[in-house]
């Protein structure tokens, strides 16, 4: 055992290491990434089947449907954010790690966004085109989805941390997260609709950006606190 006190690697190293490990895990289990994407695509298919395929209707409901589907898909993927770590004891290791817990949590959330939010952003244009969305609006939609899913991942991590280790965690997670996620969906879907009707949509983009940055700077602390409580 060496005696001299050694320097703990910087917080950036902790963030990157956690994100890298989760990305590696996702790479080895592609199903976890693909399932929410298929779910997203299927929810998007459900609506025209249920509401009817008239072009006018599709154009009108497209932004809303895509956003609701994205929200539900993110919710689906959030469930497993901390569960496996809890079950195999990795969570304990994170809690007694010399790195600050909020940073590690942020790393995990970053990996979650890269494997759930970002793929949604890239898949959405295909579905948007089937909803007859013009290309200029598709760009706006991708931007809102990108910003919105960041906040969804961060807010969702709070809920996932609160429900980790509970028996009926899945249903409870939705109950906790949906009210928190509503503003994001309102802002996102509305900005896309406004862009589609050639209105000024920048308000929504700014507000989503504000939401993302605010949750980026606060949510990791709440998640870390929730994790410590849940894992007691």
């Amino acid at each position: 055992m060496s005696e001299a006190p050694r320097e703990i690697p910087g917080i950036l190293a902790g963030l990157v290491a956690t994100a890298k490990r989760d990305l590696l895990l996702a790479w080895k289990r592609p199903g976890d990434v693909l399932n929410p994407l298929f779910f997203f695509a299927m929810v998007c298919t459900l609506f025209p089947l249920a509401v009817g395929p008239s072009a006018e209707q599709l154009e009108f409901s497209g932004p809303g449907v895509l956003w609701v589907a994205a929200l539900l898909a993110t919710l689906l993927s959030l469930n497993s954010l901390f569960i496996t770590d809890f079950e195999d004891g990795s969570l304990d290791q994170l809690l007694v790690s010399p790195q600050p817990l909020p940073i590690l949590v942020l790393g995990k959330t970053l990996a979650h966004w890269l494997t759930s939010g970002l793929p949604l952003v890239f898949v959405s244009p295909i579905l948007a085109i089937t909803y007859r969305m013009p290309l200029s609006v598709v760009g706006v939609m991708m931007l809102t989805l990108a910003l919105g899913t960041i906040s969804l991942s961060l807010l969702g991590s709070i809920g996932a941390a609160l429900t980790v280790g509970l028996h009926r965690g899945t249903a409870l997670l939705s109950l906790l997260i949906l009210p928190l996620a509503m503003p994001i969906m309102i802002l996102g879907a509305n900005a896309v609709s406004l862009a589609a009707s050639n209105d000024i949509y920048s308000t929504g983009i700014w507000a989503l950006g504000a939401y993302a940055i605010a949750s980026l700077s606060l949510a990791p602390y709440a998640t870390a606190a929730a994790l410590r409580i849940s894992n007691e």
């Binding site: 055992m1 005696e3 190293a13 490990r21 080895k28 010399p98 790195q99 007691e232």
Partner: protein
């Protein structure tokens, strides 16, 4: 440089039950602290509370005479945790698993190859952990402890899933760790034969 871990009047109530009350202990470099008691009496809760994962009803844990709550990162930088659930990812290989831990901690001077060799897992480096036996996985967890190269070991039931040889190995490692100035907190319901200055805390 010697270290000191001590607890003062620790009280923990879980749900309705008071698990322990006014419990105190002190442990110095080179020593071994064994938490004893029947199954389900709160050993695990106590060791988790000392490691800072569980908040106590009352009492303070000190690391080098400074409350742990004031210096969580210093304290956590000085300890490793090994429990029944190993905290290793079944989908990753041995090297990937230990590499993660390596990135979070201060870099150790120990040679990984040497440690793998010693624990008899050198051959398994490229395999994913899921394909290893429970005992082998346990050895990987032990390798993580050695590689962290820190003074304080926390071991919650370290002998589960181990054959006789494995048990012997754990005892040897702990002895060696204590002999070189390390310290170890262990929760165990079996008798432990380790040649180190031992303090025992019995939970009723």
């Amino acid at each position: 440089m010697t270290h000191k871990l001590s607890g003062d009047n620790l009280t923990l109530i879980r749900g309705e039950r008071c698990l322990f009350q006014d419990l105190s202990f002190a442990l110095e470099s080179g020593g071994l602290l064994i938490l004893e008691g029947r199954n389900g009496c709160g050993k695990t809760s106590l060791i988790r509370a000392i490691a800072g994962m569980l908040s106590l009803e009352e009492g303070t844990v000190y690391w080098d005479n400074e409350p742990v709550d004031n210096q969580r990162q210093v304290f956590h930088g000085a300890l490793v945790w090994l429990a029944h659930r190993t905290g290793l990812k079944g989908d990753l290989t041995l090297v990937e698993n230990l590499g993660f831990e390596h990135a979070l901690r201060a870099h150790s001077k120990r040679d990984p190859e040497e440690v793998y060799e010693r624990l008899g897992i050198a051959r398994l480096k490229k395999l994913i952990l899921r394909s290893l036996s429970a005992g082998q996985q346990r050895r990987v967890a032990l390798a993580r402890m050695l590689l962290a190269d820190v003074p304080l070991w926390f071991m919650d039931e370290p002998f589960t899933n181990l054959d006789r040889e494995g048990r012997q190995l754990v005892m040897e490692l702990v002895e060696e760790h204590c002999a070189t100035g390390g310290m170890c907190v262990m929760a165990a319901h079996q008798d432990v034969e380790i040649d180190a200055p031992t303090t025992k805390v019995r939970i009723q």
